[in-house]
Symmetry: C2
Subunit: 517 residues, 2 copies
C-alpha cells in the first residue's frame, strides 16, 4: 500500500502547490515579462526536462542577475535531479573558473551580460561545462523539452552548493539539503509575514544563500516575485510604486542606498524589510520608519541557509522610544521558528551566562544547518566539532534570551552583506613583487559597514603606491574584495614574529562599541 | 561525529524554543493563573517526569475543558514518552469508558468538573487507568517530579490518538505523528498569522484534533494562550477586551453565538477568526466583519490534523462586494502550505474537471495525514485505498483551483463542528423496545448547521413519543448526538428492502444549494 502520510520535504513542492492553488495569479514580473504560477510551473518543469540529459545529475551552475532565469533555476535544476550552483555575479574570472571546476558543474546557464566573464573563466578551464545562454538558447532548451520533475526520496539529498568565502583563501562549497531549505522557507516566510498578497521585490542577490530561501518562501505563500537585475535605487522606488511592492530585503548598506535616494518619499503602505549581514544603525531605522518601511533584523550565514536567527519583535517594545527600539533591533535575536536555541559558547566550551556582557562564540544547530562543505570533510568537522556549527561570530546573550554580536573571531570581513576572507586578499597582495608582508583586517565604513584595509610592509628598496596595490587585487579578485585603504609601514608582531592583527584592529575600531558593523 | 543538520521534527520543540527565546513572556492565562514560557516549560517537563513512571510509555488520557492542564498535556505527555488521548468532554460515560479501554490508557488526568463522569466510566471498566485529578493531585505530581523530556528518534512516532465518530458506530482512534503535528502547526500558524503579538483565546475545544494543532502553533509563535474552560459568550467578550485577544477559532455556530451575544460591540482592532466544520453564512460573515473580526475559512478532518485546507484569501478579491466575498469565503479552498494539492475524485476514480459543477470526493494526501486508525488496519486501508485519504465529503473544483463542498458521502453529521455517526445514533434508537427500524440523517439547522433527524418505524402495536426516543439516546450517547426531531412512519425503501436515505435527504434539504451547512 502506498504510504499514507509521508512526503519527502522538498522546497520545489511549494511550486506544485502554488500552481494548483494559485495557478492563474502572477508569479513573476521581470521587466515586461509576466508569468502566472501555471506558466512558471510549466517553465521550470521544461527547464528540468531540458537540463536532465545535459547534466546527468551533475551540478548545474547559474551565473545571472536577479532575473526569471535564476528564479526558475531554483526549481528547474533540482527537478532535473541536479544540485544548483548559483554563482556570485561579482566574482572575477579566476574565481568563477575555480567554482565551476570545484563543483564539477556539467552545465553553466548564464545571462548575456556575463558573456565576457564566462569567456574569461572558460579560457582557464581544461574542460569547461556545457554553456546555455539566457535568451534564445535558454528559451529553445525549454521549448524543445518535455516537462520533468524528479524529486528525491531522501529529503536530505543535496539541493544546492553555495560557495562562500570563509577563513581560508578558496571559497568553500556549502551543501544545502532539500529538508533544510523546505523548513527554512517556512520559517523565513513567517518571519517576513509573506502571504498571497505579498509582492516581493528581489533586492537581495538571488545567488546569496539561494536568496535566503526566498525563491521558495515567496512561492510557498503564492506571492509575486518582482525581479530586479540591478540594484538601482531609482528603479526600486519606481517598482515600489508601480508594482505595489510589499516586501524586500538587503544589508543595511542597501537600506541606506534606498533611504537616501533622491526618489525616496513616504509610502502609502507598510513595506516589510528584512535586513542582515550587519546590524542596522539607529539613523537608518529612523529614516526607514519615516518612509513607511518596517525593518526586521535577521542573522545567519551561508552555512545556515541564510537567516537562522531573528530579532523577533515583542509587542511590549512598541511603546519604547526610537532610540531604545533601535538598540533592540540591532540585536541578532533568537533562533527562528524551526531552529534550536542559539548558544553562546565561551572559551572553556560551556555556555556563557545570559548577562549581556560575557562574550562567547555563537553556535547554531538544527535542520537549517548545512550538510557540510563540498569535498571538504576536514573543514566540515572543524566547523562543528560537537555537532554545533560554530559561526565564527562573537557575541553576548542578553538576560531575555536575545543574542547580540560583538566581534568576529575568524578573519572574515562582511562588506555590504558579502563575505571576504582576509587571507584571500592577503594572498593577492603578497603576490605583488614589491610586497614583503601584509595583514588585512576589517575596518568600519560608513557605507559598506565594514571594508578590508591592508597593512603592508615593502621589500627594502622596493616601492608601490596604494592605487597599484588596489589595482593588483582587482585584477585577481572580485572588485569588492580590494582594500579600501592601504597603509605602508612596519606591522606589529609578537616576540616570535607573529603578526598581531588585534593591535591593528584595536586602533581601527577605537571608539566603537562593537567590532562589527 | 554528531549529526550536523538533523533534528527529528516534534511539536514539543516549539516549547523549548519559546522558553529559550521568550521565556519571560506570558505563555498562559487561565483565570487568575499566569505562567511565563519558562514556567510552562518547567511545568510540562515536570509533568513528563511525573507521568513517565506511571504510564511506562502507554497512552495518557486527559478529560478536561480548555484549561492549562490540557494545554500542558500537549507537551508533557509526549515528553513522558506516551501518546496523548484528549477525550471529548461531551461524551457519555459509556463512550469515555470505550475510549479508555480501546486506547489502553494507563493514566487518566481529569478535571474535577468531570468527577461524576469519570466515576461512571470507571465503573464500566474491569481495569480502569490510574487517576490523576487536576488541582492538588496534579500539582503534587508536578512538585514531586524531576523534569524530563523524551523526544522520539523517529519523527513519525505516535504522538496522540484522537477518537472521532466516523461511518461506523464506535469512534475510531486517529493516530497523529510528531512530524505531521510539527508541520501542521507551522501551516496553521501561518494561515492564522500568529506572531509573538498573538493573544489566542481558546474558544476551540482543545480535545478536538488536538485543538487543530494550535497548542503547538501558538507556542511556536510564542503568543499567549488564554484558556477558556466554558464557551460563555459574555466571558469571551470580556476577555476580548481585558486580555487584548487577537485570535480565536470556532465552528460557524460559535461565531453566531459571539456575533449575536448581548455583549457584542465593535472591537478597536482586527481579531482574526478561523472557522471550520461548516461554511460560514453570508449573514455571519457580514456581522463578524462589522464587529471587527476577520474570518478565514478552513477545512479538514480529525484524520488530517484538523484544517488541511484553507480558503486562501487573494488580494484581488478585496474589491468585491460583501455578497461575492461571502460566496468565496464559503469555499473550503486549497491545500494549506504544507499539504499537497487536494484532489476531487469522480465515481470513475479519475479527477473531475475543474469546472465548478462536476462533483467528486475530496481526497487529501501529505505529511498532515494520520498514520492510520489505532488497532484498525482494515479501516485504515479502506480510508486511503491508493494512498490518498478519502474524506467522505463531496465537492466541486472551481476553475481557479478552489474546492467547494456540496455534500457528504458518508453517514456523518457535522453538528456545531462535532462529528456524529448516523449509525451510532441509529443503533442507540434501534435499542428501544418499541422501535422496528430507523434511519438517521443530517438535516439543516439554523443554529448548529446540521443536526441529526431520526425517521422511525415502530413495531406493530407499539408506541413511543419523540421525547421518549430523545431521552433514550441521551442516556446512551453524548447529548449533542440525540436527534433534534423524530419522524414516525414508513421508511422509503428499494425493491430489495434497503432504506433509501437519499429520499429522506432530498426532502429535508429541498431548497438548499448544497447539502452541508
Amino acid at each position: 500500500m502506498p504510504e499514507l502520510s509521508f512526503e519527502p520535504l522538498t522546497p520545489t513542492a511549494f511550486l506544485d502547490r502554488a500552481a494548483a492553488a494559485h495557478g492563474d495569479r502572477t508569479a513573476v514580473v521581470d521587466g515586461d515579462l509576466r508569468f502566472t504560477y501555471t506558466e512558471l510551473h510549466d517553465r521550470c518543469r521544461r527547464l528540468a526536462g531540458g537540463l536532465g540529459p545535459l547534466a546527468q545529475g551533475r551540478p548545474v551552475a547559474v551565473l545571472a542577475p536577479n532575473t526569471h532565469v535564476l528564479l526558475e533555476a531554483n526549481f528547474g535544476v533540482p527537478w532535473a535531479g541536479s544540485p544548483l550552483v548559483a554563482v556570485n555575479t561579482r566574482l572575477a574570472a579566476g574565481e568563477v573558473a575555480y567554482i565551476l571546476e570545484h563543483s564539477e558543474a556539467a552545465v553553466l546557464v548564464h545571462d548575456p551580460v556575463f558573456d565576457a566573464l564566462v569567456d574569461a573563466a572558460f579560457a582557464l578551464l581544461a574542460a569547461p561545462p556545457r554553456r546555455v545562454r539566457a535568451g534564445a538558447g535558454y528559451e529553445g532548451l525549454l521549448r524543445g523539452a518535455s516537462p520533468a520533475a524528479r524529486t528525491p526520496h531522501d529529503e536530505r539529498a543535496l539541493l544546492s552548493i553555495n560557495y562562500t568565502s570563509g577563513t581560508t583563501g578558496r571559497p568553500k562549497g556549502v551543501m544545502y539539503h532539500h529538508r533544510g531549505a523546505y523548513l527554512q522557507a517556512l520559517a523565513i516566510g513567517r518571519a517576513h509575514r509573506l502571504s498571497p498578497s505579498a509582492v516581493h521585490l528581489w533586492t537581495l542577490p538571488m545567488f546569496h544563500c539561494n536568496g535566503w530561501c526566498f525563491p521558495w518562501a515567496v512561492t510557498a505563500a503564492a506571492g509575486t516575485h518582482v525581479c530586479l537585475p540591478r540594484l538601482d535605487p531609482a528603479q526600486v522606488w519606481r517598482l515600489l510604486r508601480t508594482e505595489g511592492v510589499t516586501h524586500l530585503e538587503g544589508a543595511p548598506t542597501v537600506l541606506a542606498m534606498l533611504a537616501y535616494a533622491a526618489e525616496a518619499a513616504p509610502l502609502d503602505r507598510t513595506v516589510r524589510v528584512a535586513t542582515g549581514g550587519a546590524p542596522p544603525s539607529p539613523a537608518i531605522l529612523r529614516r526607514m520608519g519615516e518612509l513607511g518601511f518596517d525593518v526586521t533584523h535577521l542573522y545567519g550565514l551561508t552555512e545556515t541557509f541564510g537567516p537562522a536567527m531573528i530579532c523577533d519583535w515583542r509587542p511590549e517594545w512598541d511603546g519604547l522610544d526610537g532610540e531604545a527600539q533601535a538598540r533592540i533591533k540591532a540585536r541578532q535575536g533568537v533562533g527562528n521558528m524551526i531552529g534550536l536555541a542559539a548558544r553562546v559558547i565561551g572559551a572553556d566550551g560551556t555556555d556563557v551566562p545570559a548577562d549581556g556582557t560575557s562574550v562567547g562564540e555563537i553556535a547554531l544547530r538544527g535542520n537549517n544547518v548545512m550538510l557540510g562543505y563540498f569535498k571538504d570533510p576536514e573543514a566540515t568537522a572543524a566547523a562543528a566539532p560537537d555537532g554545533w556549527f560554530r559561526t565564527g561570530d562573537l557575541g553576548v546573550l542578553h538576560p531575555d534570551g536575545y543574542v547580540e554580536l560583538r566581534d568576529r573571531s575568524k578573519d572574515v570581513i562582511v562588506s555590504g552583506g558579502e563575505n571576504i576572507a582576509s587571507v584571500e586578499v592577503e594572498q593577492a597582495i603578497a603576490d605583488h613583487p614589491a610586497v614583503l608582508e601584509v595583514a588585512v583586517i576589517a575596518v568600519p565604513d560608513e557605507r559598506w559597514g565594514e571594508v578590508p584595509a591592508a597593512y603592508v610592509t615593502l621589500h627594502e628598496g622596493a616601492s608601490a603606491t596604494e592605487a597599484e596595490i588596489v589595482e593588483h587585487v582587482r585584477a585577481r579578485l572580485a572588485r569588492f574584495k580590494a582594500p579600501k585603504q592601504v597603509v605602508f609601514g612596519e606591522l606589529p608582531k609578537t616576540s616570535t614574529g607573529k603578526i598581531q592583527k588585534f593591535v591593528l584592529r584595536e586602533k581601527a575600531w577605537a571608539g566603537h562599541e562593537r567590532r562589527i558593523q
